[in-house]
Symmetry: D4
Subunit: 252 residues, 8 copies
């Protein structure tokens, strides 16, 4: 939709021929239609922010290279690729300026040197084995322009570790609590703070954790208020939501 | 803790005898210790806001009357009682100025006539049968001072109902999506808006919904970003979290 | 059963010695007994249509070659092999005229150059990662003589993608809705159209999708009418059923 | 939308100001907006057919009476109320001409004396205890104008009962297979016939049937082609879908 | 087995005619055979301690009265009846000297006035609604001669409540941690103390707690050492095990 | 226990010094104690029959060779090794006279040339992919001396295949019904015959079969009498039980 | 089918016009068609034995009376009604000579005074609370003419109770092991005896028994050979199968 | 915290400036803060005993070498590494004096030559395939200074094996019962002994054991008293808890 078309649309709205809602919907959809390249898989439909996201799982190196190439050509910065396999990451690194975070399975192509870091998002985790999910969350939030504090290995079985880190928790605007096994971290943090807590169950563990089910159920049943839950291992989703909350403007 | 004690504590902090974190913790805990009445069951540990909440399920009428009486004596307004049985509600109504919302199983004792309604929280639901959960969420948010818009019966099987209500959705600061059965509402809304969406699965349905499990799994697997989930039927938790998000101040 | 035998059977029916039902059953079973080669595994007992189907999973290359050889010898066209491994497919391709659809794990041996394409079957999918299941469904329907329209990557988190494709949906005679994760696509399409919708849950996803369970439950609980469900990842079954429905004759 | 408005819309389409898809959507939604009575809960959004459906579960007698009254006033015939409680049914019977089918928990208000019965839908069931679900399916199909044949108590543990009823099965255009316990009926019928089979698992049984889960899984895993499944106990959905299939026109 | 028989047995052992193991088994079984009254249902086979236990669930008042009568006749004290219905309890109270603990559904018949209270068992719970299970555990431990400290309503969402009760926890010899919902209490306590922690999940909660499953899985996955789990709501089992541990003698 | 010891034991019984039950137990246990070689893992405690069984899963080639060697040395015939890996089987074949059934993962060492085949056991299966489990059952029954008839690929979706094999089914003394997917075979056979039917669910299938759960639940819920179920894929157990039943003597 | 018809059929067989299998099937089905009274619900298709069985669950008193009346008129003895409600039982008792076993929810109408009791079936149970299921099994076996020994309350937590009853176990021809909770009884018995063991899981228990699931899984995983499982609480099925096995004739 | 600091703290306590509880907490936490090396992952927060534990799963060889190196440098003995991969174990063995127990996946670095073995812990298992879990439990208990008796392959299907080992069971102070499949071992042992029994379900088995779920549920439902359960395959946790119990001092 070029300027002329957009003008035409708004004129119709003014004349009452098109409702404001329909116009809104049309404008919102526009960017997609512009691309005209069916193979681009926009990460779970995100089009609100300043960044581009590619969900790497199940994509071949060729597909990823194609999509990234197109985005770079369009002058995009901070292109985030999640769940990327090492071989794809190395291919991307060779051809484009790229930060590759191996542990998090994330690439950031054309990293923005002037990226901001505002507000305060805390990523807390119960153990060191949850770190891949944690970093997916933390890097997502960073790329989206949030100041991020990492509090790793502060699980509830050693409460002192959590209690000696009260300050960042108490001043956070959004907290991501990542935990596998019994998932109690979200409840304990939720009882200590006044800001939204996003709980991320992880599939880390063995036996009766049933692939993350134990942590998931535990977090859903949290008796602390202000806690909500995303899918097992969904670090990206938590980072994205934390960014949304952290960057909220005040009510005017 | 009276003023003198508080001064003493802060002096210790100044002298380095007590860490700021410990002092913070002590101050935070204080209100509880003051009450000195073990039987008061603070609703899942909420002490941040201006209201008092009582979780009515599993409490006798006598217990509820006792707790309410104590709170009224303390001059509390907007005392919210959730999941209250009709007979308890009637007893409360007789003795105290009370709004009783039968459908939502909620009483508001000593309702605050000057209560504010700021920002914009939307409660959307898939069907009319989810209304008890919806109203628990909506009333909780209202008592906490939020402006609430209800969009009921806008399930995805009749998309037009949702699409003809885009305006309140697009201007909301937080949306609560309540749905049983297939729980798709959260994903569809999440794909349309830019604010946090709190998904509440309900146990409404029959057959393979397995007490809300179908909606829960569906919502956790939402491919829209910005969606997180609370426990099945947990209208209160959603209303509380929506209030937290809606009333966030901007980053200074 | 040769002509003489068949005549004998019908004579018996005429004389009342054999009931019409028994005769029907005998005639229906006949083709099988004729083959006289126990190793042929007819794809889930299909013998109604003009094509032959081989379920490739768990069969060795030798077994597949043997069955195909026999069928080719019998002059069969459009022999469909589903869930075939690449090595088996390559062996088949070497020896017989074969279309190999790698993504769908399907081979079509002796493709029929005059195959028809009647009516209208739509295969719609939520994301690009469901494409293997989609293509299994679409190719099955094509080989069975149906005109197939593919609408891929029209998931509910980006509703505009679906809404800008209303025309093929509204004119379809049968729609196959393929989706993993939250599986909401079937409900949304079911609410828009007037024809049968066959929902295919896929095992695509991670975390709380539990191998397709989330999409399965979601689809079973669809609140739209006209929606029914086949097994997780069962593209063939959906394509077969869609063909049955699409090719129904009118009531005389 | 009156004629003038409709003309205006179509003129816009002609001029290219509104796309055909948008117009289609507007026209499709229209009937709903006309009603202007928010409390009417259209049964899972069905608006395609000639009948009106009310889902009675969870509705008070007053709510049902109100909705029915409005529909009768509009001159509607064959108003189907499903899952209605006896007391509500009696109230409806008193005030309106009503057929009450107690076993099926169904009322048909203003039954149409000239209702057609075309094509052939068979409802088959494994045991007598599934009869409530069967009758919900059968009556739904009848009200929608289909000729319905009932084959009850033809479960697979007594195969002869099924085999002595081959004729109606073999000439049906759509078959609804209702079964609890091990749910094998759908597979056996699916292997005998050439038309679509709609499987309805029921919650009838005890022990390891887990509220219908055993029949549900069994039916989803059917190795017969042409079988698809609806939710546990969802007789209405099966009847509705069977009607859709039975009344399909031939490809022109 | 009277003295003479016992002598005979031991003589056989001395002569090598009977192995020590067989003799041990015979001696161990003896008390049972003496009773000679088949209807007595010894509480899950306990015969080690000084008390008698009757599992009241599923027993009629008559059956309970019969068993108690027999035991009283035998001069038993501290006869513990668990899971007793009120009407049975009242019947027992009328005829025998009985302490009836209504909340815990427990009767203690012929309470021992000189009962000891040694060592230290703590019963801690997450919320007031778990109190029935807590009291079943606590009373069981008391009747078995243990000193019991109750720490109720110290759930992890309000950590200060737990931390201000560190002293009894740190000096306990065995701790029973009772919690429903997310069940995190066991992990937090397990991380603070050095003695065995017996976790009791409760069925208290709603939604995704699935009858105690969430707490059960959470507790089994505890990352604190020294924690083990008993069945959902099994207060008796926990009290019994805690007694066993608390009363262990030192290694000589 | 040599003859002298056995005599001594029986003398004690005669004198009343040892009860017949104890003597029975001692005699029954004897064979085990004789072996005096801890590493021999008797297949699930079987010691009743004339054969020896080794459960090969999880055993190294060395362990298997050791156990077999010992048994051969003892002059054993028809040593059955189940779930053996190919490499172990080849090692066994090299050193001992062995029948290796690759499909069934079974070795028979020192096959008995004069082995009997009495009575009639039928092994029926739904599809060709269940053949490994079928053969485990069939070979087990054969080695145990039963006459075995195989009816493979007679699944219920093609009923004619089953009905044209009624004769062996109707004359069997025990039938093993092996089926994956929907597991309906056991019910259909159970309804046709008068002898015990042992149902073996298999893990064959995909999607909602959940590793054999669908067939398992289906079989447990069979509405045919005379049907019982063993563990998923437990061909050995079914063969063993069928042998027990087939070889029962008549009541004298 | 009267004699003339039967002769006609057999003549056809002789002439080769009808296969022996078809004739067999026709003869087997005949008894059913004779009855000509659609409402009779033959208990899960049993027609082999000398008795008649009515499954009482879900039947009204009127339905039961009707069916029983018809059977009595036909001169039937030992009519077994399972899962009958007390009010129906009392109605039956009033009108017909009836043994009513309240605990087992069973009526035996027209009890046969000359009923046999051959062979040996043992019904063993873990606890007294499983008695309803036990008695359903035991009475079914008795009515079918088997000698039945009851060994109740011999659960594995008090092994001596089982070991002091070895004699009846060791001489049984079929054993029914009934157990709820952990269901270990079947394994322990299976390891002691040489005859088939039919395991019946019961829904007795609480907490993590999940309606009998724990016992069911435990029994399916039994490492003893000769054990098979029927549905949860299915005493009738176990009694019927035990009778089949107990009354097997020897191989001629 | 050096002496001076500790003195200061205690002085504050004396003066009432700091509560004893706070001081206790500070002292308890101290050791951790001393280490000052974030990468050290203390095995589930254990700091009570004389040994160091490293959870090897998910750690690289480099990470393990780094942590071990640091501990060795600190003069630690009996450093236990659980769930270590062979390649990491070999690297550790090369550089440090190490006992490597391959079957148990355990390394003991700097084994203490004067390590004690007090009291009596029995590790009993149902089959030889559970040995890895058994040895993890047994070695953990040994390193912690307990005398350990192993009773392997004493499953309940061969009761005599268990009964001929009564002596060590009856004199144990704590018993670890390890079992997969039906998990009945814990119940049987629990019914024989008077000391705490720690049940460890294992994931060993196939079919309906569902990764250890069958044994887990069976053990949780044990009707023997004194039995509690740890996570599936959690040998370490069982060994640790058994040590805690075995080494309890008597009540003074």
């Amino acid at each position: 939709m070029d300027k002329k078309e957009m003008l035409a649309l708004l004129t119709k709205v003014q004349r009452g021929e098109v409702s404001p809602e329909d116009a809104l919907l049309q404008l919102k959809l526009e960017p997609f239609e512009d691309i005209g390249y069916a193979k681009i898989d926009h990460h779970r439909g995100i089009r609100q922010g300043a960044i581009e996201v590619i969900y790497g799982a199940g994509k071949t190196t060729e597909q990823i290279m194609g999509i990234v190439g197109r985005m770079v050509q369009d002058g995009r910065q901070d292109i985030l690729i999640t769940r990327i396999r090492p071989e794809s990451a190395h291919a991307v690194q060779k051809q484009f300026p790229t930060e590759y975070h191996e542990l998090a399975n994330i690439c950031i192509v054309n990293p923005n040197p002037t990226r901001e870091a505002v507000g305060s998002v805390v990523v807390a985790s119960g153990g060191t084995s949850d770190m891949a999910v944690c970093e997916e969350a933390a890097l997502t939030a960073q790329v989206l322009g949030n100041r991020v504090t990492r509090l790793y290995d502060v699980g509830v079985a050693g409460l002192h570790r959590l209690l000696s880190n009260l300050e960042p928790l108490m001043t956070a605007r959004a907290i991501i609590a990542v935990a596998g096994m019994e998932g109690a971290l979200a409840s304990v943090i939720g009882g200590l703070v006044d800001c939204p807590v996003i709980a991320v169950p992880t599939s880390i563990g063995y036996g009766a954790n049933f692939g993350g089910l134990s942590a998931l159920l535990s977090m859903l049943n949290s008796c602390a208020s202000g806690v909500s839950v995303v899918n097992i291992d969904n670090g990206f989703g938590a980072g994205y939501l934390a960014s949304m909350i952290n960057q909220m403007e005040g009510i005017k």
